[in-house]
C-alpha cells in the first residue's frame, strides 16, 4: 500500500482539491495544517535536481522529494557533504546521486504549507489520506505536491481519486529541474552548463568567441564558491573553464590574429598559474584516504604527517588565492577579458581563418587530430619510452576538447559513442600521467626533507617512500594497459565513425 505522489498544477491547489468530486467522496482539509519556512538545497551544479529529486530542510527535518519510492525523511540538519551527514534514509539516497566532492548548499528559501486532507465517503469515513505540500517562493512562484495513501482495503478509492487528479492536470512524475526553475528562476542560469548554439555555416570566429565568452562567465561564477571554500569542485570547474578557453586559443589556429592570440594565451595562462598549486594540494587531500589505504599500516602515521603539512599549506594557499580573487587587479583583468568577447567584432583582431565555416573547420581539425592520435599510438608498444605515452595523452586530450566543442554541430547519437570510446583510453592515460606527476612531486618533497631533521622527518620519509612504491606500481599497471586500451579505441566501428563524420573530401584527396 505505497503512497502515490501527484504534482498539482495551478496557483490555488488547495481550493482545486476541495472542489474535487469523486462520486460521493470529497477531500476535506484536516485541522492540523503547518506552515513555515523551508530551505531548498542542492550542489552548485544541481546534482540533486539532475537526479530528479528536490532536497528541503526545515525545523522538522530533511526531506528528499522524488525518486522511485517517493520522498524520504530524516532528522533536521544542515546538509553539507553527504559523507558528513547523519545516517538516515535521506543520506542513503543522496549517497547514490551526489558526488562525494560536492557540498550541498542552500539554493533558495520558500514557505512550505503542509495541509493534511482526507478523502471521505458519504458516511464520513476516511478512505484515502492525503498530504498537500505546497512550496511558495513568493511572486506567484509556487509548486504543489500531493501525497495520497489509501487506508487498508480502499485501493479502488485511491484509483478513482487519481483519475480525478489527472483530470485536473496533475502528473505523477516530479520534474525536479522544473520545480527549481519555477521557484527560483534566477538560479536556472547558474545551473546551466554552457550550451553554445552553432551551425555548420557559423563562422569559426563566432564559434570560438561564443565558447570563450561562455567559459569566462562560467569561471567567474565559480569564484564565490572558491573564496567561500565551499568545496574543491569550484576551483576544479574554474580551471576546466579556463583550460577550455586556452585550448580554443591554441586549437582554433588562425581564428584570431597572431599577436591577439599570443596576448590572450599569455593572459589566460597567467590566470591559471595563480590557481595551480591550490588545485594540486586539493588533489592530494582528496586522495588522502585512498593513499592511506594503499600503504602498509606501519607507515601510515608518517604519511599522515605529510598530509597534515599539505593541509596547512593548502590553508595558506587558499587564503592567498581568495585575497587575490577579491582584489581589484583580478576583477579588472576579468572584466577586460569579458569585454573583449562581448563586442568581438570591434575589439578582437581577426585571423586568416576567422571566416571559415565552422563545419568544415571542425572536420578538418578533428580529422587531423584523430590521425595524429592514431599515428602516435601505432608507434607505441610495451617497450616504447614514456615520453611517447605522454605525447599520446596530450593528443587525446586535444582531440577530446575538439570533439566536445564542436559536438553541437554533429548528430549526438554519432558523436557520443566516439567521445565515450576516447574517454576510456584517456582514463588509462590519465592514471599513468597522474602517477608520474605525483611521483615527481613526492620525490621533490622527499628531497626537501633533507633540510628537516629528527624522528618526524624519518617517519615522513618512510611514508613517502611507501607511497612512491605504490604509485610506481600503479603507473606500471596503467602503462601495461596502454597498448590494449588503444587497440580497443581503434575498433573498426570507432574508426568508421570518425571517418564518416569528420573526413572531408579535400582531406581524402
Amino acid at each position: 500500500m505505497s503512497a502515490r505522489w501527484f504534482v498539482v498544477p495551478g496557483q490555488r491547489p488547495l481550493a482545486a482539491l476541495r472542489a474535487l468530486r469523486i462520486g460521493s467522496n470529497r477531500l476535506h482539509p484536516a485541522p492540523q495544517a503547518a506552515d513555515g519556512p523551508v530551505v531548498l538545497f542542492d550542489t552548485f551544479d544541481g546534482q540533486v535536481a539532475a537526479a530528479g529529486r528536490v532536497l528541503l530542510g526545515d525545523a522538522r527535518g530533511l526531506m528528499l522529494l522524488g525518486g522511485p519510492q517517493g520522498p524520504v525523511w530524516q532528522d533536521p540538519a544542515v546538509p553539507g557533504f553527504v559523507a558528513d551527514m547523519a545516517d538516515g534514509p535521506v543520506r542513503a539516497a543522496l549517497g547514490g546521486i551526489v558526488s562525494p566532492l560536492r557540498r550541498l548548499c542552500p539554493i533558495g528559501e520558500a514557505r512550505l504549507l503542509r495541509q493534511p486532507l482526507a478523502l471521505r465517503d458519504d458516511l464520513d469515513k476516511t478512505r484515502v489520506r492525503c498530504d498537500l505540500l505546497a512550496l511558495d517562493a513568493g511572486g506567484r512562484r509556487a509548486v504543489a505536491l500531493l501525497r495520497a495513501q489509501a487506508l487498508r482495503g480502499y485501493g479502488p478509492a485511491l484509483a478513482r481519486l487519481a483519475e480525478g487528479l489527472h483530470a485536473l492536470g496533475a502528473v505523477e512524475r516530479l520534474d525536479a529541474p522544473g520545480v527549481i526553475a519555477t521557484l527560483f528562476p534566477e538560479r536556472q542560469e547558474q545551473f546551466a552548463r554552457p550550451a553554445i548554439a552553432m551551425a555548420p555555416d557559423t563562422t569559426a570566429f563566432r564559434v570560438a568567441t561564443d565558447i570563450i565568452r561562455a567559459h569566462i562567465a562560467l569561471a567567474r561564477r565559480t569564484e564565490p564558491g572558491i573564496i567561500d571554500d565551499i568545496d574543491s569542485e569550484f576551483l576544479h570547474d574554474h580551471r576546466v573553464a579556463l583550460r577550455k578557453v586556452r585550448s580554443v586559443l591554441s586549437l582554433f589556429k588562425g581564428v584570431y590574429g597572431a599577436a591577439q592570440t599570443d596576448d590572450l594565451k599569455a593572459r589566460f595562462a597567467a590566470l591559471m598559474t595563480r590557481t595551480g598549486r591550490l588545485r594540486d594540494l586539493d588533489v592530494y587531500l582528496i586522495e588522502r584516504p585512498a593513499y592511506l589505504a594503499m600503504v602498509p599500516e606501519t607507515v601510515r602515521p608518517g604519511l599522515g604527517l605529510l598530509f597534515e603539512a599539505f593541509a596547512a599549506e593548502r590553508a595558506a594557499e587558499h587564503r592567498d588565492l581568495s585575497d587575490h580573487l577579491q582584489g581589484d587587479a583580478h576583477a579588472r583583468e576579468m572584466r577586460r577579458l569579458a569585454r573583449l568577447f562581448d563586442k568581438p567584432d570591434a575589439r578582437l583582431v581577426r585571423g586568416p581563418m576567422a571566416d571559415r565555416a565552422a563545419g568544415d573547420f571542425a572536420r578538418r581539425l578533428i580529422w587531423k587530430r584523430y590521425r595524429r592520435v592514431c599515428a602516435i599510438a601505432a608507434s607505441i608498444d610495451d617497450r616504447t619510452p614514456d615520453a611517447q605515452v605522454h605525447a599520446l595523452r596530450i593528443q587525446c586530450k586535444k582531440l577530446r576538447y575538439l570533439l566536445e566543442f564542436f559536438a553541437p554541430m554533429f548528430p549526438t547519437a554519432e558523436v557520443r559513442p566516439l567521445i565515450r570510446a576516447l574517454k576510456k583510453l584517456q582514463d588509462v592515460l590519465g592514471t599513468f600521467n597522474d602517477c608520474a606527476v605525483q611521483q615527481a612531486a613526492l620525490a621533490g618533497r622527499l628531497q626537501g626533507l633533507e633540510a628537516a631533521r629528527g624522528a618526524r622527518k624519518l617517519e615522513m620519509a618512510k611514508g613517502i617512500g611507501a607511497l612512491l612504491t605504490v604509485l610506481d606500481q600503479r603507473q606500471r599497471d596503467a602503462r601495461a594497459r596502454v597498448v590494449a586500451s588503444f587497440a580497443a579505441f581503434d575498433a573498426p566501428a570507432t574508426q568508421a565513425g570518425f571517418r564518416a563524420l569528420f573526413k572531408t573530401a579535400k582531406a581524402s584527396a
Partner: protein
Amino acid sequence: MKIIACYSNKGGVGKTATSVNLAHALARDGQRVLLCDLDPQGAAGFYLRVKPSKNLKDDRFFKDVQRFTDAIRGSDHDRLDVLPANLSFRDFDVFLARMKNSRSRLKKALRAGGGDYDSVVLDCPPNISTLGESVFRAADAIVVPVIPTTLSERTFGQLLDFFRDNGLQKKKILGFFSMAQGTKTLHGQTMARMRAAYPKRLLDVVVPFASDVEKMGLHRAPVADFAPASVAAQAYDRLGRAVMARI
C-alpha cells in the same frame, strides 16, 4: 498475536461497545489491532463507519486467504483495522486456527498486506452456540461484560459451568462489570457478592453506565475519540491494560 473475544451468553450487555472501545484502546496504546465483526448485524462496523462488504457473504470466505485479506478495511483510527460483518461462520474455526499459526498462508498474506496484528478482537454475536467452542479454544482471553444484576450473575455461573463440563480453560474467562450504576443498591450488592464468589474470574474494572457510550452511535466513533477525558474512555483504557496483564 493474541485473540481476545468479547463474549456473553446474554444479549445487549455491551459486547459491541466493549470490543470497539477495547480495540481502540489497544491501538492507541501502540498495538496493531484487527477488530472482527462477527455479528451479522454489523454493529461494530457501524461504529467505525465501515460498510459491510459484499464479498463476505460467501461460504468459501474463511478458506480463501486472498478474499479474507482483501475484505479488511483500515478504520479512521491509527493501527485499527476492521473485518466487516456479514460472514458465514462455517469455517470460522479454520480461520481461527490459521490466525494462530504463524506459518500459515493467512499470516503471510496479512504480513504482506501491511503488517500482522498484535491483537485480534472478536465482537461475538449473542447466540454463537455452534461457534462457541472453537472461539473458546482459539481465544487467549474471553472478555465478558457483566451487568451487575441477579440474572447476569446466573448466566456468568452458567458460562463457567460450561467451561468446566467441556474441559475448557476457565482461566481465559475475564469478566468485568458493565453498565454499572453506582446509585443502584442492587448493583453494588451484586458486584460485592460476585467478587467474593469469583475472585479470579473478575477483573478489577467497572465500566459505568455512561451517556458517552450511548453517544457512540451518534458520533460513529469510539468513546475515546470524541470524549477522551470521559469516565467511560478511562474505564475502557483500564480494561485494555487489565486484559493485557492477564495474557
